[in-house]
């Protein structure tokens, strides 16, 4: 029986590698966008509008995945859009993590008043429809990268807070914490040095999930035309335009959609794969 357990741990997790692989390609593509993009993502050329992708009739060599109604190259916009998506994923994901996990740790470990207040906040926050709240915040704060990040953090910190709070509570009840307290360690120190490392695997898994969510929220917001700005090549705004012109130029919708799909899927599967890796016994 013991050998079975070991085998699970050692087995190369395919989804881990596949998702990490795609994300790696994406990062490289985003960083090398100026080198890889055939056109300037913002350049409009009305003579080159609604060109189909390479393998269809009527395509032009400079626009491998086709162009939109304003003649902008789809591939270039996808590559530059990746920059925005990854930037948002990284920054928004990390900020949400820090805020949510931080509050969750405090609530779960200290209990008492901090827990009551934070839990009440979580309840109130979860009574808001998230997308609507985000749209509202953007309307209040105006468009722009900072607004997007703030909006994502504000609507999704509860995801971290609830889970980390529960974990902190169960860790806090364990013997090693009791012995630390008896040894006279300061409460804050215990939280940071004893509880946090044990909760770290969960935090990392949630972080990858959160990055996927950040990408989606940004896409939704720019779909509703409230993201960075109407000019910037975000996947969401491409999808919005593609949705409107779906019958005339399906490629404007399909390619950013596929990229978005693969990216969100990869973040999610990366999280699941990490979860497997950290605790195969649970499986």
């Amino acid at each position: 029986m013991a050998e079975g357990r070991m085998a699970v741990k050692r087995r190369i997790n395919p989804r881990l590698w596949l998702s990490a692989g795609w994300l790696f390609i994406l990062v490289v593509a985003a960083l090398a966008a100026p080198l890889l993009a055939p056109q300037d993502p913002l350049a409009q050329d009305l003579f080159a509008s609604r060109l189909p992708p390479l393998w269809q009739m009527g395509a032009e060599p400079g626009y491998p995945l086709g162009s939109d109604s304003l003649g902008r190259d789809v591939l270039s916009r996808i590559l530059y859009g990746a920059r925005i998506a990854l930037l948002v994923a990284l920054i928004a994901g990390t900020c949400t993590c820090i805020l949510g996990a931080g509050l969750g740790l405090i609530a779960g470990y200290y209990r008492g008043w901090p827990d009551m207040v934070i839990s009440r906040f979580i309840d109130i926050w979860m009574a808001f429809p998230p997308v609507l709240f985000a749209i509202l915040l953007i309307a209040v704060m105006g468009t722009g990268l900072t607004s997007i990040i703030v909006a994502i953090v504000v609507i999704d910190w509860t995801r971290f807070a609830r889970v980390i709070r529960a974990e902190a509570m169960s860790q806090g009840a364990m013997d090693y914490v009791a012995s630390a307290k008896v040894a006279g360690r300061a409460r804050f120190g215990i939280m940071l040095r004893e509880i946090l490392p044990n909760v770290l695997p969960t935090i990392i898994v949630l972080l990858t999930l959160e990055m996927g969510i950040a990408v989606i929220v940004e896409a939704i917001l720019s779909f509703v035309n409230l993201s960075i700005s109407t000019d910037d090549p975000t996947w969401g705004s491409m999808i919005a335009e593609g949705r409107a012109t779906i019958h005339q130029s399906w490629w404007v919708l399909v390619f950013p959609l596929i990229t978005l799909f693969l990216t969100v899927l990869s973040f999610s599967q990366l999280g699941e794969g990490l979860k497997d890796h950290f605790d195969p016994v649970l499986r």
Partner: protein, 336 residues
């Protein structure tokens, strides 16, 4: 007795949460830049018009004062007047509510159906290829949010196989002899199956997009719960009595396996309802969510407030109902 006490406590808690929501939304949207009044006025309107309108909507008073006036209004059922349509917010909001409720419930039913079947099949054929296949597709479905499913369906059924409608709630050509806005329900009651079919063909895609993530969660949770339940002694005992595998899964294990999944599924259902905001927009479905987005774009403050409060009421009510159902179904809690 204890059941009633817990219920009342939850009700009070719900109220506090709603007040919190009201406060937050009220104050957040008053920081909004952009002058809603200016959007309403025709160009060339004079100062007096602006002042008059401001007074009409109470924007000339201080924010705390406005809040007091607004809450007083709520208690008597007056949620203010929409800036964009000049109609009472309550009327507008309750008018759109049925559409969103029908969509959400249709999605819920689909999710339970799909998720339940997957979980049961996976349990019936545990350890075999079928279960592995279910796990894999489940994993993918879990990772993809409703927004993406919606876009995928629009692509598939808008362009490739136009079987379902991808826009609107009902075909505009149809004449609707309805009293309420619960079109789906009323069309059944009135036996107007032609209208019912038309409604379903419009609702199917958005409902499915909403349903798939929830179905995946239900499938995963229920399958896990069934797996644990199937090991219990009473299930084994039922086998010795001569019952078939199917009977054992459905009649012995399932009723006990469902209970632990209820709370989590309830929470996920509220997420589904939240998802109607963007899905309705995507499919141009005339529900609350769609109206909400327009309200934000048009800075229609009273309408925004009303919609957010209504969503909050829906969420907290669903949570309350789930907890109530759990208490009722758990024999241990029922007989205390």
């Amino acid at each position: 007795m204890t059941l009633i006490r817990t219920f009342l406590k939850r009700l009070a808690s719900m109220l506090i949460t709603l007040i919190g929501v009201a406060v937050i939304v009220f104050f957040v949207i008053r920081i909004v830049p952009g002058n809603p009044i200016a959007m309403m006025l025709p160009p060339g309107a004079g100062e007096e018009d602006i002042v008059r309108l401001k007074a009409l909507y109470g924007f000339d008073k201080s924010i705390p004062e406005q809040f007091l006036i607004w809450t007083k209004g709520i208690v008597s059922g007056d949620f203010g007047t929409s800036i964009t349509t000049r109609q009472p917010v309550l009327l507008l909001v309750l008018g759109r509510l049925p559409a969103t409720l029908e969509l959400s419930i249709m999605a819920l039913v689909m999710a339970i159906g799909i998720g339940g079947i997957l979980a049961l099949t996976g349990t019936r054929h545990r350890g075999q290829k079928a279960e592995a296949l279910i796990d894999v597709t489940n994993g993918v479905s879990l990772s993809v949010p409703d927004f993406l499913w919606g876009l995928l369906f629009i692509l598939l059924f808008g362009v490739l196989w136009p079987v379902f409608h991808i826009s609107g709630r009902v075909s505009p050509a149809l004449d609707l002899p309805f009293v309420t806005n619960f079109y789906l329900f009323e069309s059944l009651v009135r036996l107007r199956f032609d209208i019912w079919l038309d409604l379903v063909s419009h609702m199917f895609m958005p409902a499915l997009a909403l349903a798939i993530p929830l179905a995946a969660i239900i499938a995963q949770l229920l399958k896990q719960s069934l797996k644990e339940t199937m090991h219990l002694d009473y299930v084994t005992l039922a086998r010795t009595k001569g019952y078939s595998e199917n009977h054992v899964i459905l009649r012995e294990a399932l009723p006990n396996a469902v209970l632990p999944t209820l709370t989590l599924v309830g929470v996920q259902f509220t997420f589904l309802i939240g998802g109607t905001v963007i899905i309705e927009r995507l499919f141009s479905y005339e529900g609350l969510g769609n109206m909400a987005i327009d309200a934000v774009i048009n800075r229609d403050l009273p309408l925004i407030q009303g919609i957010v409060i209504l969503f909050a009421v829906i969420f907290t009510t669903v949570n309350l109902l789930v907890d109530l159902t759990y208490a009722l179904l758990n024999p241990r809690l029922r007989h205390g």
